[in-house]
């Protein structure tokens, strides 16, 4: 039982990594990875929201949409759920911990439009996960996202001081690096 969850977690973090293997959540991956500090803030905020949104959308689906036979409304309902979870989290964090709000603050609203969050919610349904599996799947996706975002930010900090040929400077070399990182993550394919 525990081994199943460990496998699910490892599978989501490494083998089916949301960013580098499934190509979800690429905008923050390219956009917020210029500085290690911001990448860490974004990672922490995403981990929090992704786990919560995964569970909340599962509950909405199981307790509202399935009994009413409205499963075709899942996308729009999940968007609603995610927006509310993000907004609610922001309010609570701002009130309860100004320090955490300073770290996560600007990144929380950005996550509403992160396609990885909606992706996790929809994939939970597609793969018929139960409550605990949804929790682990959401958390695993978030850890995977954080892992590659922080790794990538560290690489991009190195890249800013590297002697890059003129046509490849800036976003171009970032894309190339992302491609190489993606290739590296393909190597995990046989792990689970």
């Amino acid at each position: 039982m525990l081994a199943d969850y460990a496998l699910l977690l490892a599978g989501t973090v490494l083998v089916n990594n949301f960013v580098l293997v499934q190509f979800l959540g690429l905008c923050p991956f390219m956009g917020v990875s210029n500085k290690l500090e911001t990448a860490m803030g974004m990672s922490a905020a995403t981990t929090f929201v992704l786990t919560l949104a995964s569970v909340c959308s599962y509950l909405t689906y199981t307790w509202l949409l399935v009994p009413l036979d409205l499963t075709y409304l899942r996308t729009i309902s999940f968007i609603l759920v995610i927006a509310v979870v993000v907004q609610f989290t922001e309010m609570v964090v701002r009130k309860s911990s100004p320090l955490l709000h300073r770290v996560l603050g600007v990144y929380l609203p950005l996550i509403t439009t992160n396609c990885a969050v909606l992706g996790v919610a929809l994939l939970n349904i597609n793969q018929a996960h139960n409550f605990t599996q949804s929790l682990f799947y959401g958390f695993g996706a978030a850890v995977g996202f954080s892992l590659v975002l922080v790794l990538f930010a560290a690489m991009r900090e190195r890249l800013t001081v590297a002697d890059v040929p003129e046509p490849f400077q800036g976003a171009a070399i970032g894309m190339i690096t992302a491609g190489l990182a993606s290739l590296a993550f393909m190597g995990f394919a046989g792990l689970v």
Partner: protein, 200 residues
């Protein structure tokens, strides 16, 4: 009720989405009342970007009042200690055009630290009263000295000193100020790409 909804799928969809929306709206409405925060977060954000020298060169009594003035639409280019870097950061935060430093309020200088030549100090406490960040230690008729870590290099103590024993020295760079130097663009880099070579 459930059978009625199941026999009218459109009605069920409308009611479900409306109910979901209303429930979430209620939650958010409750949260916004329950978790209301005081103060203007923008002032805090601006205040964080300012260098906290409390020097008053901008014409405001300190950095927080200046931050309040900026939040109400004041000019962002009045802070010489922060220099161009601060102006650019403020312009970025407020989404306005970056400006150059207003020369009326002083010039941008390297970060300094005050140093009291201690054998010349007469112990008049005038610099202690002038210091906005309480970085000068001493008592009447006793020698004063500057706590270098607390000093913001605002120059405000230089003027009141009757014996001119305060120097403004450049702040020494420590390990936390170390910067990775950008590579010097090499001469032959243009030759790497064929099109660059053709243009040159």
């Amino acid at each position: 009720m459930l059978t009625l909804l199941q026999s009218h799928p459109l009605l069920a969809a409308l009611i479900a989405l409306l109910g979901l929306g209303l429930a979430f709206g209620a939650v958010l409405g409750y949260a916004s009342v329950r978790f209301r925060t005081e103060g203007n977060p923008l002032v805090d954000q601006i205040n964080q970007l300012l260098p906290q020298t409390q020097c008053g060169q901008c014409g405001h009594p300190g950095c927080k009042p200046y931050a309040t003035a900026i939040a109400e639409g004041g000019a962002i280019n009045k802070c010489p200690p922060g220099g161009q870097e601060t102006i650019d950061a403020l312009a970025d935060l407020l989404d306005v055009e970056p400006q150059t430093l207003d020369a009326e309020h002083g010039e941008e200088k390297e970060p300094n630290v005050a140093y009291i030549r201690e054998d010349e100090c007469i112990g008049c406490t005038k610099c202690i009263q002038a210091c906005p960040v309480d970085a000068i230690l001493g008592a009447a008729k006793l020698m004063h000295t500057v706590i270098a870590d607390e000093c913001t290099g605002c120059d405000l103590c230089v003027e009141p000193c009757p014996v001119d024993c305060i120097d403004m020295l450049p702040r020494k760079g420590g390990i936390e100020h170390w910067r990775w130097e950008l590579p010097v663009p090499s001469e032959n880099r243009k030759d790497l790409i064929a099109t660059d070579r053709a243009a040159a």
